[in-house]
């Protein structure tokens, strides 16, 4: 299908001529916890359609032409911001980047006031990265603009989980029935939470692996397994998703040393050799070579770490498009 062609007003581009089974009605994407499996699939299908745009001679579609997108990053990030920026530009939006140091937040202005000012400038979409859980929802409830969560504290990072899920689906042909391990600092990881929601809703078996200090037992209530024995799991995994060991949290003692972490939970070459041949190795980045993942394993053929980055663009295009269209009624 040709996504650049204008289509009837309410039809989702991703579903082509098929009757849409679900309509996207959300102006915001603050998390995946409340999404239905059908909504998740709709985003992934839309992303698949947008992915082809990146390989064309002209890498742009007019889906957000004349729209203003603000990348509002109150917590530092490079790759997520760049990915959203590029995604927005491929949709022909005008993009403004704002960071905390460049905003009035450092002068004592509240998040609410800063956001209202952005709205007064007629921003259509605000992409928010913030260190406080719930910050995206806070803005979404107060603004007419679409709000897309680019990570809020230890809560959710929905587009990261969508790109993870997209990558798995593309490689494996589906999600249901796969055994996915998420390894590392689950307690502080917004990626882990969003991954859990996306993968379990789509029927995967999810096992959380890590030191007992960083894998909260309460998460078992979400229908996932909890393990502290990575070695026992290796042969049965279809996907292993390694989370970054967050050096900035080392001021609190959650495990004795990086060396012991690697010895217990690092994907070393020896461990990688015990994985199934077609097991995917994933990482949300930025990676710590030699800590949670061996350098050669990160560069090996089963690693899809850079595909994740590429797919992130398509997924973010889909999310920006869907949320903007649900708000404005301007469907392709």
């Amino acid at each position: 299908m040709n996504i650049a062609n204008s289509r009837s007003a309410s039809e989702s581009p991703a579903l082509g001529n098929a009757t849409p089974q679900v309509r996207w009605t959300r102006k915001d994407l603050t998390g995946l916890q409340s999404l239905s499996p059908e909504e998740l699939s709709l985003v992934l299908d839309t992303a698949a359609a947008f992915k082809t745009v990146g390989t064309r001679h002209i890498k742009k579609v007019p889906a957000l032409r004349g729209k203003t997108l603000v990348n509002f990053f109150v917590e530092p990030s490079t790759r997520t911001r760049v990915s959203f920026e590029l995604a927005a530009e491929r949709l022909s939006a005008d993009v403004i980047n704002m960071s905390a140091s460049g905003s009035s937040l450092t002068k004592g202005e509240t998040l609410k006031d800063t956001a209202l000012n952005l709205q007064a400038l007629h921003a259509d979409v605000i992409v928010l990265r913030h260190s406080s859980a719930g910050a995206a929802q806070f803005l979404a409830e107060r603004l007419e603009a679409s709000v897309v969560n680019a990570g809020d504290g230890a809560h959710e990072h929905p587009t990261q989980a969508l790109l993870d899920t997209f990558t798995i689906r593309e490689r494996k042909g589906g999600i249901a029935g796969l055994h996915v391990a998420i390894v590392g600092d689950i307690l502080f990881s917004r990626v882990a939470r969003s991954d859990i929601f996306a993968l379990t809703k789509l029927g995967a078996k999810v096992t959380l692996v890590g030191p007992s200090t960083l894998v909260p037992v309460e998460l078992a209530q979400l229908g996932v397994n909890i393990s502290h024995d990575l070695d026992a799991l290796l042969p049965e995994l279809d996907v292993i998703n390694l989370l970054r060991v967050q050096h900035e949290r080392q001021h609190k003692s959650y495990f004795p040393s990086l060396g012991e972490y690697t010895a217990l939970f690092g994907l070393t070459k020896a461990r990688a050799n015990r994985l199934q041949k077609d097991c995917l190795v994933m990482h949300p980045g930025p990676i710590n070579r030699g800590v949670e993942i061996d350098s050669d394993v990160a560069d090996s053929s089963r690693s899809v770490i850079l595909e994740q980055v590429t797919n992130g663009l398509a997924v973010r295009m889909a999310v920006l498009y869907l949320c903007n269209a649900a708000r404005s009624g301007e469907w392709l």
């Binding site: 509240t110 998040l111 406080s132 719930g134 504290g153 939470r193 979400l222």
Partner: protein, 429 residues
């Protein structure tokens, strides 16, 4: 002055006066600001209030409120907090010292006492800080505070972490007969916690405040109350283990007591799902099993006092990211309705008599106040209740300067309908 100024006759009400084991239909006469003895002659011009179908009790006491003055008068003033107290049925409020500056010197106590005398429509009794500046490092001038009129000592909002300092402050306070009230929170366990540590904190990604962070200090207090003999009152208990530890200590005769606030039995941590900061308080809302333990503690007499922890904050202060918002909610105008509704009507943990006891003679005895009774010649403070009255909480109708309540729109059964301080009607429905 006529003989009947500050006088009022409550007729035909159900008089509940737990201090005197009285629970019977009858009259209560306040004459010249004091309770008249039974059989006293009623002057002809005294206002008569028909209390048929209503309950007449000693004026209710809230042992735990934040009136925010000096220094935080955008949130609340002594005058507005007192009006909210009157509308909630309270004739006496005990205000916390975590103001700006804190109430840690005789001059600030004097300022509060004078301001209350001039502007408050109910009794406002100040507490003094236990440590200088509520910083938990040096003992506050406890003797000077006592002399200036504080009724108890507390670092409420904070908790002295240094056990040795706590021990010495307790020993020193004993010399003045002052009760110490403690906000039980272990800082190293609680850290940056903003909500109950459990399933919901994990899913919402908010830093957890484990129940053990309270229980550990309750146990510390049990040990230090036993060691020093100074009574310690544990404020706003929220955790099941705290109730168990308090029960055990009291059974051994340790001078330890505890209070609960209505939000800790009305709401669970599941309320935090929308990140609404009106559900953020310290200690935090916990899970249902903790609520059940608190109810059991009330029912079996382990918990002896009910209070609000009335903590007004401006809307703009609360309307920020969840982890950055201040802790605390309004309480004075909703606490009686919530406790009547939950403790007496819905869960039947206690009867009306016990509820009145927990709001009158129990707090009065804890602090050694000549209040909370209808004994002859006691101060003429009276609250009239309609325990069956159904009403809806409306935050816009609040007398407080602030609006931070999670109970807006709640339908409750039971409330005060008249509040009388020293024979003067300060509020009526």
């Amino acid at each position: 002055m006529s003989t009947s100024s500050n006088s009022i006759l409550f007729k035909n009400g159900r008089v509940i006066d737990p201090a005197n084991r009285r629970d019977a239909i009858g009259d209560v006469l306040i004459l010249n600001g004091r309770v008249a003895s039974e059989g006293a002659v009623v002057p002809p011009d005294v206002e008569r209030v028909d209390c048929t179908g209503l309950v007449v009790t000693p004026g209710l006491i809230d042992l735990h409120v934040h009136l925010r003055e000096p220094g935080q008068s955008a949130k609340e003033t002594i005058a507005t907090g007192a009006r909210a107290a009157a509308a909630g049925g309270f004739t006496t409020v005990v205000c916390m010292p975590n103001t700006t500056p804190s109430i840690d010197s005789a001059s600030v106590v004097a300022w509060v006492v004078e301001k209350a005398r001039a502007e408050a429509c109910v009794r406002v009794l100040p507490t003094g800080a236990l440590s200088k500046g509520i910083a938990g490092e040096e003992m506050a001038p406890i003797g000077a505070l006592k002399k200036a009129g504080v009724v108890a000592l507390t670092d409420d909002g904070r908790c002295i972490q240094n056990h040795e300092l706590m021990r010495r402050a307790l020993e020193y306070a004993k010399m003045f007969g002052l009760t110490v009230m403690d906000h039980c929170q272990d800082y190293s366990l609680v850290g940056r916690g903003v909500m109950h540590e459990g399933y919901w904190s994990t899913v919402l990604g908010l830093p957890g405040w484990p129940a053990a962070g309270e229980e550990l200090i309750v146990q510390r207090n049990a040990m230090l109350a036993e060691l020093t003999g100074t009574p310690i009152h544990c404020q706003h208990l929220s955790a099941a283990g705290s109730v168990r530890l308090l029960r055990e200590a009291r059974q051994r005769g340790v001078p330890l007591s505890g209070e609960i606030c209505p939000h800790h039995i009305a709401l669970t941590d599941a309320s935090l799902q929308g990140y609404d900061t009106n559900f953020k308080m310290n200690p935090p809302l916990r899970s249902q099993e903790h609520i059940e333990a608190l109810l059991e503690g009330v029912a079996d007499g382990t918990i002896t006092i009910l209070a609000s922890d009335h903590a007004p904050h401006c809307s703009f202060e609360k309307e920020v990211e969840f982890d950055q918002a201040p802790f605390g909610i309004l309480g004075l105008e909703t606490e009686l309705g919530l406790f009547l509704d939950i403790l007496v009507h819905k869960r039947k943990a206690i009867d009306l008599n016990r509820l009145v006891e927990m709001y009158t003679i129990n707090p009065a005895r804890l602090l050694g106040l000549d209040l909370g009774t209808l004994s002859p010649n006691a101060p003429g403070d009276v609250t009239v209740l309609d325990p069956g009255l159904e009403w809806t909480v409306d935050r816009e109708a609040s007398f407080s300067l602030s609006r931070n309540t999670p109970f807006h729109g709640w339908e409750l059964k039971g409330r005060a309908v008249r509040t009388v301080v020293e024979g003067r009607s300060v509020w009526s429905l």
